[in-house]
Symmetry: D2
Amino acid sequence: MINVGVIGFGYWGPNLVRNFSASGRTNMVAVCDLDPKRLAVAARSYPAIRTTTDVKELLAAGDIDAVAISTPVQHHFELAMAALKAGKHVLVEKPMASTAEECRLLIEEAARRKLTLMVDHTFIYTPAVQKMRDLVQSGELGEVYYYDSVRVNLGLFQHDVNVLWDLAVHDLSIIEYVLGQVPVAVSATGISHVPGAPENIAYMTLFFDSSTIAHVNVNWLAPVKVRQTLVSGSKKMVVFNELEPSEKIKVYDKGIVLNDDQEQINKLIAGYRTGDMWAPQLAGTEALAAEVSHFADCIENGTTPLTDGVMGFNVVKVLEAASRSLAERGASMPVER
Amino acid sequence: MINVGVIGFGYWGPNLVRNFSASGRTNMVAVCDLDPKRLAVAARSYPAIRTTTDVKELLAAGDIDAVAISTPVQHHFELAMAALKAGKHVLVEKPMASTAEECRLLIEEAARRKLTLMVDHTFIYTPAVQKMRDLVQSGELGEVYYYDSVRVNLGLFQHDVNVLWDLAVHDLSIIEYVLGQVPVAVSATGISHVPGAPENIAYMTLFFDSSTIAHVNVNWLAPVKVRQTLVSGSKKMVVFNELEPSEKIKVYDKGIVLNDDQEQINKLIAGYRTGDMWAPQLAGTEALAAEVSHFADCIENGTTPLTDGVMGFNVVKVLEAASRSLAERGASMPVER
Amino acid sequence: MINVGVIGFGYWGPNLVRNFSASGRTNMVAVCDLDPKRLAVAARSYPAIRTTTDVKELLAAGDIDAVAISTPVQHHFELAMAALKAGKHVLVEKPMASTAEECRLLIEEAARRKLTLMVDHTFIYTPAVQKMRDLVQSGELGEVYYYDSVRVNLGLFQHDVNVLWDLAVHDLSIIEYVLGQVPVAVSATGISHVPGAPENIAYMTLFFDSSTIAHVNVNWLAPVKVRQTLVSGSKKMVVFNELEPSEKIKVYDKGIVLNDDQEQINKLIAGYRTGDMWAPQLAGTEALAAEVSHFADCIENGTTPLTDGVMGFNVVKVLEAASRSLAERGASMPVER
Amino acid sequence: MINVGVIGFGYWGPNLVRNFSASGRTNMVAVCDLDPKRLAVAARSYPAIRTTTDVKELLAAGDIDAVAISTPVQHHFELAMAALKAGKHVLVEKPMASTAEECRLLIEEAARRKLTLMVDHTFIYTPAVQKMRDLVQSGELGEVYYYDSVRVNLGLFQHDVNVLWDLAVHDLSIIEYVLGQVPVAVSATGISHVPGAPENIAYMTLFFDSSTIAHVNVNWLAPVKVRQTLVSGSKKMVVFNELEPSEKIKVYDKGIVLNDDQEQINKLIAGYRTGDMWAPQLAGTEALAAEVSHFADCIENGTTPLTDGVMGFNVVKVLEAASRSLAERGASMPVER
């Protein structure tokens, strides 16, 4: 049993606490939050867990093996570094830190101390993303032509980072995991509708060394929440709609038609769909439960997490390049190797 | 009754002929196509219409008042110019011509001869687009924050122009008509998956003098046809799904929330939708029928078409700038005034 | 080439005329309707076709081989009988006639004269219904447990027959064709909301000699048109949604679970779907085109139509029993053999 | 604070315990289940709650004010009666008991002892059902023409009661609450596909003293879970789709068309939808939380619950009549007053 402390009990923290509690592999010991009202909520639901507003107290606790950090991104580096220095294994919310340099320092510190450093890119642990990875890596999709994602939230804006750091961060980890490729350049455009505030709507194109292209459409201004991802290959195409209750993954059994028979082209233009469609049944497992269990495995066996510091680092490097491109209205920026 | 000749009887030409025949305002006189097999198809359905493979014959005919041109884009300029010079009113397929300069020359020629020059931006005549214009121009949507469109076709590619010229052309006319704004700069990215062929997938961001931003996502590589457009304002938002049989237009009765109440924000993050939704019943009229009737009006009264040469010209100017940006991986290009 | 006359040019007649014209197998010769305005519409679209308000003239014409009857049901018997007696092959709208006895007389007359008698149960010729038949008859679905259909029209009522005769008639032919079974008893319930008018909403349960059960839900009072049919078997289940543009047929790759593992049952109760789903691509052919061609085949080769007089007869026998049950608030009525 | 004991910790019990725990109005004291493994699950999640396999122990406990019974229906009567006799207020799962007579005895016992007796017809407490009731009771829908519900579960069967008792029970309470009418007669049909087992598929038509008709379609054999209810009136119609994440309630702004203009009728036949559609935003509250709070109110103030014993009694009377009709293949049975 690994004893866990959670720092931050805002929007996501309660999910971490619930899963660390329910997992047979970990033991929830303490929760830290600056807001006593949030701590009171935690105490009411989990009377056996210690609560504190003092992060030092939590990090000093001898009965805590691992720490999960679920705070605003600007505190990730400081808290994760302190936790590593206190000898704790770390699971940190995404994005891993505010800069690529901070990510690099965390990776080095964890390596030096032989501690597990994992980033909470939760989507990687969903049955749907795993199915997409299988389809791509097995070659079933053929050559991947493009990755296209729409990830928009209901109309609100009040954030300290731009919308790419809040939402596109999911796609960057999925792209690395599913495609097995990292982008070499990025073009991003967007706008802020509140003077002085970061961009609340953004579009990002990723270029690779291959002929794959990826595009991510994110904003906080939508009337309806959308979470839709498409991976299109020369043989098959797959659509992942996270909000569809019963058909999250649809596989279209046909790739691209290269054909100059005008009648067949006209039929395609007038049609609605190509090929048979197949929607595999997916396991109903909660991704975070699988992730918590994987975190425990990595700590116990010293193995590298699927969503390790390097993935977190890669994601932040792209976000940095995208923010530079955003400031230049789409001018392509290389992603640092 | 206006007597009409149609040049080109491929994919779209038959729709023109059908509507010119059925309209009480126009009279279908002759069809021209280089392919005798296509002419045979026309003759079988419309025994009373003359057919010819010789465009000169059609343009020389004294009993033809107006000509509709439905050929590949590279022939638009030459055919439209010849028709104007032969004294015919002209309805030309979109995009209006291969270059902005050609558009300018056609506008001048039509003006000099006092002939009607109209571009077949059919969408402008749909009840759905007209409803969107009403919602924006009446102020019901408030300040427009963004226009976002996905317009993708089933997986085929075999085209002589890039996908922006084939599909984004629709959005450019809709944006001008619905928003009443023309873009000042454009950033476009995309890729071709066939060596030597034009881009089959592209993404385009449009910048305006206001704080509106527009984005268009087009490709010929999709497993499912999509035609979805969103216009989002400070007060309301509207979604137009052309392929939805019964709810093409949905109006969301709520704009953007500027609020720092963390609980309300968490509720929005977890929610699926904001505000009431309202789907107005739309007339079932075929857009092309309305367009053909409007063409006849403009000829008879000498009035300016909704989709006149200037709109066609504006659209082509953006397409030219977008193609330049595409070649520079997204670097922003000004749109010529 | 078979020369065809069409009687009745109201809602459905124009579709018949269009398909008889376009088919390479038949030749549209004449149209008869009592309303000169409808005949004018026909003449405008098809200048080469003769029109008449006098059915006797049409039946007497020596250049007509076959007649299609598309009038209100109360005239079917009289017109079809007159056509047969005039030596014409007959395609009659569904339901075949107002009573089972009339159907029997028509079958006998056609047999005596060796003429083709076919009922226009169009659905039988759709790729979707043919796919359902294949799935059932090949045994892929296993033992058929139930057939369930919802077929409701937008809120209007103004009919001379009850809604079962107008809408359930489709299901009765589909059931016979797809399941290969005819019902032995029927229970029907319903109501009329207009004093003196026939039922505008009805529910019908069909019993068979097997353990299959069928149910049909029809009305003219719906806010949204629905056309959904489910055939559920011990191995697989199939859903046919006629109005879905791209996924008309969905096959669920799993049958019924007979299991007393309470945890698996709880999972099913909480779940949304069982097994993989597969949506085969269907041909885009218009059913009526296939039907017209099949009618020509049957006439030329003297073969029995898929939708012959016997199917029409069986359908009317069930409708008669159902109307009797309706009057008794659901009391089960045997279907005459 | 009302102290609560829960009997039965199977599929639904955990939801009761969670809501009694989270409510500020009630205090979870003890859980009883015959299965020690289920009790272990309860103890792990709620270390502060007492557990027992002995229902007598729970009923004898002096610190328990109210008991919630969540067991198979055959035990409802015995347990609820014992609880009332022990002086406890009672919340019992639906259906209230196995027979109408048992319901009557429970109502009398509760009345005699002035204890609150409430049936857990949870749907009554959902924002969607409350919205439907408002629409009907305010007259906004006009005269109600019909109620139509499809409520089918994934393909499993393993039950000790027939499917009407398991699923139609929901509709019977919704009908009474939303329409404010109770049925006077019922016709039901159905079948069992397992020899000796109760019906796993059933159809039920309800007749009222008005011209309203209601129909409920239930089974445990569906490939996809469906929860759809329609209430159609002379002025408007409302569709409730419980599984739709963002548009649970759709109101169609148009009633029935009584019109003999054939062209308008043809347009309706060819159309997909009538009138504007409006989807009100609904509160996201969990029904069971509202219900638990209402239970506490009723106990504290001695007021009558929305879902009191009389509603439970009425529901069971219809179920009894429906079961009799089922055995007679649809013959209409009166519902006992």
